[in-house]
């Protein structure tokens, strides 16, 4: 860069080691290099916001009476069909009124009255693929052979669903603990606790958002949650790394100041990195199609919450834990 204009406003949060540049270059930037925001002072207010969001997640769980489980977890049968021309939902429902099919729900997916998702709850004994065949037969009888395309069929026994759900829960919890331990080893216990709490916070709120927007919860959604965990901890690591580095540099300053400096210094990177990740997930959400809709949604929400929690959840907890141990 050839600009000779001196940078202004970056000395607001000046610290000892940084030398004042004689001829500071300027860059194209969205966030000034040192915005000097007192994040730690803001954190109690944000803690209230976080608590409200987590409570909201739990209350929506009760309000909805459980997650909107996909076939993977609920068990049962799902058949998706596509008609070349628009078909009334009522006609599809009527075609499914058969003794072999109990409680079929029909949903118009895509909104064009062409694609329909038919779901039948899992029975105690009968295998879902027999139900899928009954659905196909029913539609053939009503609309004629070859009058529709079968997009997909999924049939999962109820026992399998429960087992998968147990594994999913275990995987999410395990990843949270593993991340906490990794950070504990690389940094210290306080950082480990901060990261683990932040991750739980992210997962809870993301699940809450899935509930509020009635998004389907299936295996790919769990994959999204695990990715959110990975992404969020990534962000936490970057900030923690800076705190550790600045602490050595600013030995005489209190931890709050060190943290504020670290967060401010990495803020530009945090915003840009989360911004690019959110940009691509938004593309996935808008353009990726119905199969990965809830997956992309969970990523989108999780990335936003994950970015926020690194600053406003993980770091204040580290501060609280460190203070407590220092007092002893």
């Amino acid at each position: 860069m050839k600009s000779t204009r001196t940078a202004q406003g970056q000395e607001r949060l000046q610290h000892g080691a940084a030398a004042t540049p004689r001829q500071a270059p300027t860059f194209f930037q969205l966030i000034p290099p040192n915005p000097g925001i007192d994040f730690i002072k803001l954190s109690p207010k944000m803690a209230i916001a976080s608590t409200i969001l987590v409570l909201l997640s739990f209350s929506s769980l009760f309000y909805r009476g459980g997650l909107n489980y996909g076939i993977d977890f609920a068990g049962g049968t799902m058949v998706e069909v596509r008609f070349p021309q628009a078909v009334a939902v009522g006609d599809v429902r009527a075609a499914l009124e058969q003794p072999d099919i109990r409680e079929a729900t029909v949903q118009d997916i895509g909104g064009g009255s062409n694609d329909f998702q038919i779901r039948v709850q899992a029975g105690e004994t009968e295998m879902g693929s027999a139900v899928a065949d009954a659905v196909k037969r029913g539609l053939q009888a009503k609309f004629g052979e070859g009058s529709f395309d079968v997009l997909r069929v999924e049939a999962v026994g109820p026992k399998v669903g429960k087992e998968l759900w147990r594994q999913a829960l275990l995987a999410v919890l395990a990843s949270t603990v593993v991340m906490g331990i990794y950070i504990w080893i690389k940094f210290n216990l306080a950082f480990g606790i901060g990261a683990a709490v932040a991750l739980l916070h992210d997962v809870l709120i993301t699940v809450g958002a899935l509930l509020v927007f009635n998004m389907e919860f299936d295996l790919t959604t769990v994959a999204a949650l695990l990715t959110v965990v990975g992404f969020s901890v990534n962000d936490t690591v970057i900030i923690s790394d800076r705190i550790r580095e600045s602490r050595i540099r600013m030995r005489k300053e209190p931890l709050e100041t060190v943290m504020n400096v670290a967060i401010n210094e990495t803020l530009s990177r945090t915003i840009i990195n989360s911004g690019t990740a959110i940009l691509v997930t938004a593309a996935l959400y808008a353009l990726g199609g119905p199969v990965i809709h809830s997956f992309a949604f969970a990523l989108l929400v999780g990335f936003i919450i994950g970015t926020y929690s690194s600053i406003f959840v993980a770091t204040p907890i580290v501060l609280a834990v460190e203070r407590r141990t220092a007092r002893r």
Binding site: Y182, V222, T227, V229, D241, T276, F295
Partner: protein
């Protein structure tokens, strides 16, 4: 870290190798092209059927106990132990001897001939009983063997069914995953794969001891089967089978008489031929039921002894039915019944939709990132963008070269990698900016930027990698595809966003006395 030249050549070689293996996926390559295999697509993209079966291994154990009981019965008969009865009660074999003093003889015979049976010392026995169990080790062998044998038999059946690139894998203790690309109507495939195909030859019960359908006599069972006029009827047959389908060496389809559909001819091995010959000689004029999976296909009268080791099953089969029956008879019965736990079918149109939508979101996401980096970091952004392109190429290259399966979540994983890969560059470039602001020269700023960003980059990528590994452990099918892409993306990101970009900077700094750096 090698010299600048060798690092540059290494990356160039990677670039060329990736291009070579990725190109066949997108264009028709000339015949001399060294790589032909395109990237393998998952069932969710190419369409097909995924079936998850559970082998009912406990049933295999029960069957083994039953078989041992029958073998023991015939061994004891030829041994010198007097009169006796052999019964199976659950997993136990009860031998009741008429003479107490023969118990030691019988016990010795069991220990010599049946090393996998253990004698349970039954309390309160009157001294003429023996209670036998299958040894723990044998039970474990039967369980494992049943799964392995089921996979083998299913593979043979599928191979003859004519599916391109089917895959069969065991999963966990007793589960088998079957993937059939391109099969949209899995009904016939399911019937074929999941069929136990246990063929038994049993005599129809005769005389007063046969009893009635309501109350069959001892050793007699009631089975459904084909009736005379094409309907279903019930048969009274002897519980004991003369022989089972494991003695069949070959089976083929033959047209039956007018209006009779197709029939299946079978050939027996020497043991089977002897058993069949003896039985048909002893029981001329009686009816022999041919029972397939507990259903009587036909019950012809034995007109004369059949000693040639050949036979026929008639049952008004359609041609496909007859073909599938011949197929399963050739490859033997499954050692235990299969239970279908999951079925997932993706039609070709949804697969095409998914590929299109996945590609569009990839292109749009990539363009957004590339433009953003270019605008925000100028020269540094351009280098990061080039690294990003190399990154995607390397991921696809790894997919093609190592035969990983690309799924829709896998495509999402690549899109996500594009969004997250630039993080390493952002970290470095932000650091370089800081150093420049602090008044350092171009060379020193770049060195310091890379050095100081490295720990943060490494730690943050290790954590994401860990979550990918957990995801891989947990998931199956498409989710695994996502986990693979995520982990692969991290490795290629470190390679390209950190090391490859460094090569470019080093090269530029070495060639010119670069006073400024565009970030």
């Amino acid at each position: 870290m090698g010299s600048l030249g060798s690092r540059g050549i290494a990356f160039l070689a990677l670039l060329v190798a990736s291009l070579v293996v990725v190109l066949p996926t997108f264009v028709d390559v000339p015949s001399w092209w060294p790589w032909r295999q395109p990237v393998r697509l998952g069932l969710d993209l190419r369409g097909g059927t995924y079936l998850l079966y559970q082998v009912e291994v406990e049933q295999a154990v029960d069957n083994t106990v039953e078989r041992r009981a029958r073998d023991l019965e015939s061994e004891l008969r030829s041994g010198n132990v007097g009169a006796f009865t052999v019964d199976r009660v659950g997993r136990e074999i009860h031998v009741r001897l008429a003479a107490k003093d023969r118990r030691a003889d019988a016990r010795r015979l069991v220990e010599e001939r049946f090393p996998d049976l253990v004698v349970a010392e039954s309390a309160g026995a009157d001294g003429a009983d023996l209670t036998l169990r299958l040894s723990e080790r044998e039970v474990a062998t039967v369980r494992d063997g049943a799964v392995a044998q089921a996979v083998e038999i299913m593979r043979n059946r599928i191979d003859q069914f004519g599916v391109a690139e089917p895959t069969l894998q065991t999963q966990g203790q007793d589960e088998i995953v079957v993937q059939l690309p391109g099969i949209q109507d899995p009904q016939r495939a399911k019937d074929l794969i999941g069929r136990t195909a246990l063929l038994e030859f049993k005599l129809l019960a005769e005389g007063p001891q046969a009893g009635t359908v309501q109350s069959p006599g001892p050793g007699i069972q009631v089975l459904f089967g084909e009736g005379g006029g094409g309907g279903r009827t019930q048969y009274l047959v002897e519980r004991r089978a003369i022989m089972t389908g494991d003695v069949i060496t070959d089976a083929s389809v033959r047209p039956g008489g007018v209006g009779e559909g197709y029939a299946v001819d079978f050939t027996l091995d020497s043991r089977g031929a002897r058993l069949f010959g003896d039985a048909t000689t002893q029981h001329v004029r009686r009816q022999l039921a041919i029972v397939l999976d507990g259903y009587v296909q036909s019950a012809p009268e034995i007109r004369e002894p059949i000693t040639g080791g050949q036979g026929q099953i008639t049952g008004r089969f359609r041609i496909e039915e007859a073909q599938d029956l011949a197929n399963v008879l050739r490859h033997g019965a499954l050692p235990a019944p299969l239970k279908l736990l999951e079925e997932r079918t993706v039609g070709p149109s949804l697969g095409k939709d998914s590929i299109r939508q996945g590609s569009i979101s990839f292109v749009v996401g990539s363009i957004l990132i590339i433009v953003f980096m270019l605008v925000y970091y100028r020269g540094g952004g351009l280098i990061a963008d080039l690294a990003l392109l190399l990154n995607v190429l390397l991921i696809l290259g790894a997919f093609a070269a190592f035969g990983f399966t690309l799924t829709l979540p896998g495509i999402a994983g690549i899109v996500l990698t594009v969004g997250m890969a630039v993080d390493a560059n952002v970290l470095i470039l932000e650091r370089v900016r800081e150093e420049l602001r602090a008044g350092k020269g171009a060379r020193a700023a770049i060195d310091a930027g890379y050095d100081r960003a490295w720990t943060a980059i490494l730690d943050s990528n290790v954590t994401t990698f860990l979550s990918g590994v957990i995801l891989f452990q947990f998931g199956s099918g498409p989710v695994r595809g996502f986990a693979v892409t995520l982990c692969l993306g991290i490795l290629t990101t470190l390679l390209t966003a950190v090391f490859a970009t460094r090569v470019v900077y080093d090269w530029r700094l070495a060639n010119r006395r670069l006073a400024t750096v565009s970030v």
